[in-house]
């Protein structure tokens, strides 16, 4: 250990490190693994998905619902391990936007960035609308006299948007702890229902739940992509790369465990719903609200109320987590100068990107509110919003899977296994998203496909216009948290590096 001993006893100076990171202002290295995990889990909202997704998948995939979910889980795991090639090496707030910028350059990066903004933004809209939908049902149960008018739903959504705004400005720990509590309780309630169903239907395994009958390759593919929408958001803990205490350890672990835990929950919940309906001699796809119907049929009606509470709060947690991620992607863009620098400001006391949050929340709340005010049904609005969000996420996943091997090759750390997994995921997802967009554009939700394509094109047009005016953007895009002199043995601050640096990237 001679060279190491010498280095410790008399550290050779290592120049080139600043005293501040370009993403200074956030509460750097402050939240632990539990908070990081909470961010990803809440963005996925497993309890809300476990109660709604099985039916949606069953409608298209027929008997192959469980298989479609299994394939979606494997695909998500492939994406997760590929994303983790970045999360183990770069601590950033821009998530896939930053990673793709670092791997494929700023142009592709901005496509991924637009796709992520669309994904986080529309899932937040979807979740706010969902929280409003279930809260209205819930209040209707408690006080039967309440008028179920569109205005009432709009008011509920506005009230919850206010909650979201306050929580995400008040500090990252409040939002992660609150959403974790909500999700834990909701998942607990779902598991109680699952156990009730399995106890009532007996210990024998119902093999018919695993049959592939009535499924074709095409509708199986669409079913798998639909099932994938139950997983999207698992990567969102990567937006806490700067705030996590040990980001290179906790973020990768949170991403993989989110996929494993929520995937297992979906498989168990779906199996129990299928056998629950089979035992009743009914069809899962014929039910408007499967879990409530099951709770009623198996003599636990009182659970209906609990389930509505759990779904409403799970949606609220999802809205908080998705807006948290959205604000941090915008924050990164603000620091880079892609969007006005005000988006890169942080709150002096709470160390949160409060400007980005204050702009995002009203936009996220107004879209479903306007939709309802225009006379669209709340549920129809939600179905359209999720199409936009899913297309955004999956587009970004495809890009990040292509970017990972390119990035690793450039820094000289590419291995064959990683490349094979990344390209397999990219190819499968690319095929999936094309099939999904084609199928959805022929459905009643075609407007969602149009909105996605228009927004993505608008994002790219904005980027090219902005880059023509500010050619230096090519240097600043892809901002991440670089180690500061204090992290490095013998780290000597650069003489020109005065406090309050200009927020440029570290490369």
């Amino acid at each position: 250990m001679t060279a190491l001993e010498r280095a410790i006893a008399d550290p050779p100076p290592v120049p080139g490190f600043g005293t501040r990171s370009p993403v200074d202002g956030l509460e750097r290295r402050s939240v632990g693994f539990v908070d990081v995990l909470a961010q990803s889990v809440s963005a996925v909202a497993p309890s809300a998905a476990a109660t709604t997704i099985p039916m949606l998948v069953a409608v298209v995939a027929g008997g192959a619902t469980l298989w479609a979910l299994g394939v979606a889980m494997l695909l998500s795991l492939l994406v997760a391990v590929t994303v983790n090639q970045f999360t183990r090496r770069i601590a950033a707030t821009g998530s896939l936007y930053t990673y793709v910028s670092r791997g494929l350059g700023t142009g592709a990066g901005f496509v991924a960035g637009s796709a992520m903004l669309i994904g986080y933004g529309f899932i937040a809209m979807f979740a706010l609308a969902g929280a409003g939908y279930y809260l209205a049902i819930l209040l209707g149960r408690v006080w039967p006299g309440i008028p179920q008018t569109p205005l009432f739903a709009v008011a509920l959504i506005a009230a919850m948007a206010l909650v979201v705004l306050v929580v995400i400005i008040r500090g990252i720990r409040l939002s992660t702890r609150l959403t974790l509590l909500i999700e834990t309780v909701s998942v607990g309630i779902i598991l109680v229902l699952v156990v009730t169903l399995l106890v009532n239907t007996g210990p024998a395994i119902d093999w018919s739940a695993f049959s592939l009958a009535g499924s074709t390759p095409a509708n199986f593919a669409v079913g798998a992509v639909l099932a994938l929408t139950a997983f999207v958001g698992f990567e969102s803990s990567s937006t806490l790369g700067v705030e996590a205490r040990r980001p290179f350890a906790s973020v990768p672990r949170a991403i993989v465990w989110t996929v494993i835990v929520s995937g297992s929950l979906y498989l168990v919940a779906t199996y129990s719903q299928i056998v629950g309906f089979n035992a009743l001699g009914l069809d899962l796809t014929s039910s408007a609200s499967p879990v409530n119907d099951l709770a009623g049929a198996y003599g636990v009606e009182w659970m209906g109320l609990l389930l509505d509470v759990s779904i409403a709060t799970s949606f609220l947690a999802c809205a908080i987590a998705s807006t948290t991620a959205l604000a941090r992607v915008l924050f990164a863009m603000g620091r880079e100068g892609v969007v006005p620098p005000a988006f890169g400001a942080t709150h002096r006391r709470f160390s949160t990107p409060h400007v980005a949050a204050a702009v995002s929340v009203p936009v996220v709340a107004l879209v479903p509110m306007i939709g309802i005010a225009l006379g669209w049904g709340l549920w129809e609005t939600m179905e359209t919003l999720i199409v936009v969000a899913a297309a955004g996420y999956i587009t970004a996943y495809v890009l990040v899977c292509v970017a990972a091997p390119v990035f690793l090759r450039r820094i000289g750390e590419l291995t064959a296994g990683v490349a094979v997994r990344a390209f397999a995921a990219a190819a499968l997802l690319a095929a999936g998203v094309v099939v999904y967009l084609v199928v959805e554009s022929a459905s009643a939700r075609w407007i969602g496909v149009v909105v996605f394509l228009v927004l993505l094109a608008a994002g790219c047009a904005y980027y090219f216009a902005r880059r023509r005016r500010h050619p230096w953007l090519i240097e600043t895009i892809g901002v991440y948290d670089v180690p500061v002199a204090a992290d490095v043995l013998g780290g000597a601050p650069h003489p020109d590096d005065l406090p309050g640096g200009d927020g440029r990237s570290g490369s």
Partner: protein, 257 residues
């Protein structure tokens, strides 16, 4: 030790075989990686480490990423190269502690003979401190906590106030109550700057406390600290002892760089 480009491309001397025999292989490999990064200097890439150590690439990359997770290694801002993290200093117990110069030890000894209570000498470097000359007659109360909770002790508070004064980031060993409160940070900074010393009472041993005086280098930077541990009343009203200590600190300054 100078960083040479040739060093990066030379295979390192064969890893010591006796280590391999006695220790689990992963620990051996991790230490070999740290040693290699120290040998090649800042900026060495993962590929170079793998080639020099003749270790399989996938294994090397996994090990390096684990060491980065634990902050023993730091990825350079260009994302390709690596350098040793500040945390390897925690391996410093493997390295003999650096004794202060004899002249400084003599000054501290003289102070001890004239003052009732424990007189310790502390050195500071960036955001770290080391007790280089603890009073043998008055051992430190809880050495582990001294370093784990930097803002609990007088010697630690002196360093924290200095970091706040220069606007440097606070290390992870500052407790969250202080880390999360700009108001408390400001009041600590003001208190220490105004008094020219830091102190604590009851934090380690009820009824006892500690005060610390700064020793500054030629550019006014904090290089060392002289501390007194004594019963609470003598910390709160030090009287003539303070003069003795301040005089000692003035005499130590030129001896400690």
């Amino acid at each position: 030790m100078r960083v040479t480009d040739e060093a990066r491309h030379l295979p390192s001397p064969a890893p010591p075989a006796d280590l391999r025999a006695r220790q689990p292989k992963a620990v051996h490999s991790a230490l070999a990686v740290l040693e290699e990064v120290a040998r090649c200097g800042a900026g060495v890439t993962a590929q170079e480490v793998s080639e020099n150590l003749r270790m399989p690439r996938a294994t090397t990359y996994r090990l390096i990423n684990l060491l980065v997770q634990d902050e023993y290694l730091v990825r350079m801002p260009d994302l390709r190269g690596f350098t040793l993290g500040r945390k390897v200093v925690e391996l410093a117990h493997l390295v003999a502690p650096v004794r202060p110069p004899q002249a400084a030890v003599a000054v501290v000894e003289e102070l001890r003979s004239g003052i009732r209570g424990g007189v310790h000498l502390v050195r500071y470097e960036h955001d770290r401190m080391r007790v280089v000359d603890p009073d043998p007659d008055f051992p430190l109360a809880d050495e582990a906590r001294l370093f784990a909770e930097l803002d609990a002790s007088a010697m630690g508070r002196l360093l924290v106030a200095e970091l706040l004064e220069t606007g440097s980031p606070l290390p992870a060993s500052v407790r969250p109550e202080l880390r999360g409160s700009p108001e408390r940070q400001e009041s600590l900074r003001r208190e220490v700057t105004a008094a020219g010393r830091s102190w604590q009472v009851d934090a380690f041993t009820p009824g006892f406390g500690c005060l610390a005086l700064p020793i500054r280098g030629p550019r006014g930077e904090l290089v060392a600290g002289l501390t007194l541990s004594a019963p609470r009343i003598r910390i709160e009203q030090p009287g003539a002892v303070l003069e003795l200590l301040a005089d000692g600190a003035r005499r130590l300054a030129p001896l400690l760089r």
